[in-house]
């Protein structure tokens, strides 16, 4: 066995052939969908880069553990590749195919080599399969992680973007709510509104729910909590923009909006708010 060529050396010798085969595989496996989003030479460059790192790691002799130090550069490359592909809008399948389509080229190189015994060929093939499978899984994992990062960042941005507190008039604040209200968002909304009330010493807050698609018991409860907190601080609250369907839902759900002033639209709410503050200021 010692007389036979090392796997890494063998593959290195067939480098050109393997790469050519791999690129052909990549082109047929992923086809037009990839070509549309990546420049032709990008794939070739990435393939070359990966192969280089792969060969360096393989020749280190560690063929069992892709989590080891020898494979660090390969892992880093895969992480970058996955992150890039997430941004470019690839699916996880397409990303993993990048690794798996290398198999054929490697298999052909090993099995086509005259100087190896059948047992050695089988062993080498097994090693390659194991390695590529693990690397493929790793790239999927990295892909998912990148995507989760994107989702988390977007969620955070959405949270900030979606809670503007607007000063409409002297002593009147408006909070136009857009999108579904969940507990986390309500918390942010409530805090920013209450904080603004303190800063501007406003007496009336108008919560406009025109942009809230559905109101269920939970959303209603969140709204009521905000309204109660406002009252505790000494401000009044008007809910505006209640659409007919939402009014029906609220009543059918049996949500008690007793003591909450509601108006059909923001204009009516503003008129009422001005009347209330005007009276309070004049009195």
């Amino acid at each position: 066995m010692a007389a036979e060529e090392k796997l890494a050396a063998l593959l290195e010798r067939h480098r050109e052939k393997i790469l050519a085969q791999w690129l052909r595989e990549l082109a047929t496996a992923t086809g037009a969908s990839v070509r549309g989003r990546l420049a032709g030479d990008t794939v070739a460059r990435q393939a070359d880069e990966f192969f280089h790192a792969f060969m360096a790691a393989l020749s280190s002799g560690n063929t069992n553990d892709v989590g080891g130090d020898e494979w660090k550069s390969v892992r880093t490359f895969l992480e970058q590749l996955s992150a890039e592909r997430v941004r470019a809008g690839f699916s996880s399948e397409e990303t993993a195919t990048f690794i798996f389509s290398l198999k054929r080229g490697l298999f052909e190189a090993v099995s086509g080599d005259k100087g190896r015994g059948a047992a050695q060929v089988a062993e080498d093939l097994w090693t390659i399969t194991e390695l590529l499978d693990r690397l493929g899984l790793y790239s999927v994992k990295a892909f998912q992680r990148s995507r989760e990062e994107v989702i988390n960042r977007q969620q955070a941005e959405l949270l900030e973007l979606s809670t503007p507190v607007v000063k409409l008039w002297e002593g009147i604040l408006a909070l136009p709510l857009i999108g579904t209200l969940d507990s986390a968002r309500t918390q942010v909304v409530m805090e920013s509104l209450l904080q603004k009330i303190v800063e501007t010493e406003s007496q009336v807050a108008i919560i406009d729910i025109t942009g809230v698609p559905t109101v269920d018991t939970l959303v209603a409860q969140h709204l009521l909590k905000t309204i109660t907190a406002l009252r505790l601080m000494g401000a009044e609250c008007i809910v505006s923009g209640v659409r007919p369907q939402i009014a029906q839902t609220i009543v059918q759900l049996g949500v008690d909006l007793e003591g909450v002033t509601t108006k059909a639209n923001l204009a009516d709410a503003l008129a009422l708010a001005i009347k209330r503050t005007g009276r309070a200021l004049a009195g």
């Binding site: 409530m190 805090e191 209450l194 904080q195 009330i197 303190v198 010493e201 406003s202 007496q203 909590k225 109660t228 907190a229 406002l230 009252r231 505790l232 601080m233 000494g234 401000a235 309070a280 009195g283």
Partner: protein, 129 residues
């Protein structure tokens, strides 16, 4: 022993809570305030809690109790200057303090008290909201 001062300002009583309210202190305030209402024949009490940053359920109930006691003694209580964090905490604790009047600051609170008392003088039938 420390206690919270109760100031007489014209026809109203003004209580400013500027320290962390311990349970004992709150009990004492309740006691002092009910006697002060009686002694000064006052009809309006302003409680300024703008410096209060931490509340628990006990203090929350205490505030509601004080307001209830004052009402029985024929005085209206207005709670002023509650901080956002305190308001959120009370709501999460389920203490919405129904029946307690609130205002943003002492000035507005005073205003509210005057208006309520005027209305009561003018029309005995319309009680506090």
């Amino acid at each position: 022993m420390e206690r919270i001062p109760i100031l007489k300002m014209g026809e109203f009583l003004l209580v400013t809570i500027q320290v962390d309210l311990s349970d004992q202190l709150a009990m004492r305030l309740q006691d002092d305030l009910s006697q002060a209402i009686q002694r000064h024949h006052t009809h309006g009490v302003l409680i300024d809690i703008s410096a209060l940053e931490v509340v628990d359920s006990f203090i929350g109930r205490m505030i509601a109790d004080i307001s209830g006691i004052a009402r029985i003694l024929d005085a209206i209580t207005v709670l002023v200057g509650m901080q956002p964090a305190v308001a959120i905490t009370l709501v999460e604790l389920g203490l919405s303090l129904p029946g307690v009047a609130t205002a943003l600051n002492v000035e507005r609170g005073m205003h509210l008290l005057r208006r309520r008392l005027q209305r009561e003088d003018g029309d005995e039938l319309s009680g506090p909201r």
